[in-house]
């Protein structure tokens, strides 16, 4: 990833828009697979933006079981004048597709460690947790069988922990298929190190290295030179603001 932003109007993009483009970049090169960006508005927007620009073969949904003929705006349902539906993916077929493999999922960890082991089940002892969360959902199968990325809207030491209380999604040290990257409100991280532990890939414009290190509860691999996350192009900004997210749901998830 280059330090040179492709933005025609750098400085005008909000942090949420930088994050959405970083999420779009997760899908670069994926081709004709299902983008299952279930972790929030920003990755959902990112997947649809990737499809609307540099990754046109991606399959995306309306958040329900409809595979939409075109990327639809956040919150819109397929068939409401957005070009209709090209396929049907109810929950059971989604779960079969996990085994088939033509799928890249973005999940939202409550805790994640340096190898990408992730937890959405509970905080504390599993037998009697101090905080019960969602439950493991599809994390074990997703991470074992599909390309998986992560979205963390609030990068903090509570999320980036030395140890996770329950290994739901498996990390690079426990048989993950491919953990591609972690996009947060501060930075992009990946696992491109010799022992496949987490490293800082790029800092979002306006974020310092110290901020990221302080917000990470384990020793992060930091290369000698850390590039800036690519800023949105003018066309990407236009598509996000006018077409895919005119209501600005992205800004609720990552306030600037």
């Amino acid at each position: 990833m280059s330090a040179v932003g492709g933005g025609e109007a750098p400085g005008t993009a909000t942090r949420a828009e930088v994050c959405a483009v970083a999420c779009a970049e997760l899908f670069r090169g994926d081709g004709e697979i299902v983008a299952a960006a279930v972790a929030g508005f920003v990755p959902m927007l990112g997947a649809r933006l990737a499809r609307a620009t540099f990754e046109p073969d991606l399959l995306t949904t309306d958040g329900g079981p409809a595979l939409t003929a075109e990327p639809v705006p956040l919150g819109a349902r397929a068939g409401s004048g957005e070009g209709g539906v090209e396929g049907w993916l109810p929950f059971r077929d989604h779960l079969w597709l996990v085994l088939n493999g033509r799928r890249h999922v973005v999940m939202g960890p409550s805790q994640i460690d340096r190898f990408g082991n992730m937890n959405i089940s509970c905080v504390g002892d599993w037998e009697r947790p101090s905080r019960q969360l969602l439950g493991v959902r599809g994390a074990p199968g997703n991470t074992r069988l599909n390309t998986t990325s992560f979205w963390v809207p609030r990068h903090s030491p509570r999320v980036f922990t030395e140890k996770v209380d329950f290994v739901g999604g498996v990390g690079t040290d426990r048989g993950a298929h491919e953990l591609r990257a972690v996009v947060t409100n501060l930075a992009v991280l990946d696992f491109a190190t010799p022992d496949r532990r987490m490293r800082l890939r790029s800092l979002h414009p306006g974020v310092t290295l110290d901020e990221v290190v302080a917000a990470t509860g384990f020793d992060l691999a930091v290369p000698g030179e850390v590039p800036l996350t690519r800023t949105p192009t003018g066309e990407e900004l236009r598509i996000m603001r006018e077409v895919l997210d005119p209501k600005g749901l992205r800004e609720r998830e990552v306030p600037s």
């Binding site: 085994l99 947790p129 439950g135 074992r144 426990r174």
Partner: protein
């Protein structure tokens, strides 16, 4: 053909404490809430509940009906965490069998087809195997020799599902965007009870949907109950969407024991008709 129509009360009276009860739907979507509410009001205890969990699990936990829960998650969808389920885990210590979503589905497929287990790689490497020490793995007998989790059949005594339409014979139809796993629940259980938005004549089943919308066959159904708005407040498209305002009311009340007592008194102290009346009154009062 003798009719299988029953009342909510008759269905619940046919259940026993200690049973394993499967509940269809997914999260806060098309849950057989009228039947769940009636179980909460009954003397049943000690249930093992098998569910892709939503407020069905929450209500049953709040009423102290659950000994063990088998699930992959409990969520209200638009509200991520279920307050009653959280309290049940954090304070009451209900037993939990926590599976990956795909493992859970394989357990249903195995039970539905009378297989002892089905193999899947999902779960390997994760703590799902740590917290379910009874789970075993198998090795492929073919050249690949792959190790797989042998997910045991999720057999159940009874399944409860809510569909859009059904006839008196027990044929049941979904008209919404997703069948969820309701047909698998029906086949996995010894007995299945269908609640439906509207009971129709068999001859009318194809008036609203194609043959492939006939999700559940009467061969797998013991009883049918007409419960208009019986999935409330969960989604039951196209009959009605999720009642988000009421779900917010529920979740806020569930997060506070005193508020929950008031909620329970207002909405859950009578039968299903009383519940629907109370919801209508609340809606009018709130100007909705």
């Amino acid at each position: 053909m003798s009719g299988k129509t029953m009342t909510v009360e008759e269905v619940v009276a046919s259940l026993d404490s200690g049973m394993t009860v499967g509940i269809g739907g997914w999260g806060s979507r098309r849950k057989p809430m009228a039947l769940v509410r009636a179980i909460c009001a009954s003397g049943l205890t000690d249930l093992t509940v098998v569910s892709y969990g939503g407020p069905d699990v929450g209500l049953l936990c709040a009423a102290g009906k659950v000994r063990r829960l088998v699930t992959a998650f409990v969520t209200l969808d638009s509200i991520p965490l279920e307050p009653h389920f959280r309290r049940a885990r954090q304070e009451a210590g209900i037993e939990l069998t926590e599976y990956d979503e795909g493992m859970f589905m394989f357990g249903l497929y195995a039970a539905a087809h009378r297989l002892p287990f089905l193999p899947t790689p999902a779960g390997l490497g994760s703590d799902v195997l740590r917290v379910n020490p009874g789970l075993r793995t198998v090795r492929s007998p073919y050249g690949d020799g792959e190790e797989l989790v042998a997910v045991p059949a999720l057999r159940m005594d009874v399944a409860l599902v809510h569909l859009n339409r059904a006839d008196a014979r027990g044929n049941a139809q979904y008209l919404g965007p997703d069948p969820y796993m309701d047909d698998l629940f029906a086949k996995a259980a010894d007995r299945t009870y269908v609640s439906c938005e509207r009971l129709v004549d068999t001859a009318d089943l194809l008036k609203e949907g194609p043959p492939q919308s006939l999700l559940i066959s009467r061969a797998h159904v013991t009883g049918v109950v007409e419960t208009p708005n019986g999935a409330h407040f969960t989604a039951c498209e196209p009959d009605h969407e999720r009642d988000e305002a009421f779900q917010r009311l529920y979740a806020a009340a569930a997060a506070d024991p005193r508020e929950w007592e008031a909620f329970r008194e207002r909405f859950l102290s009578g039968d299903e008709a009383a519940y629907q009346d109370a919801v209508r009154a609340w809606r009018e009062e709130a100007g909705r």
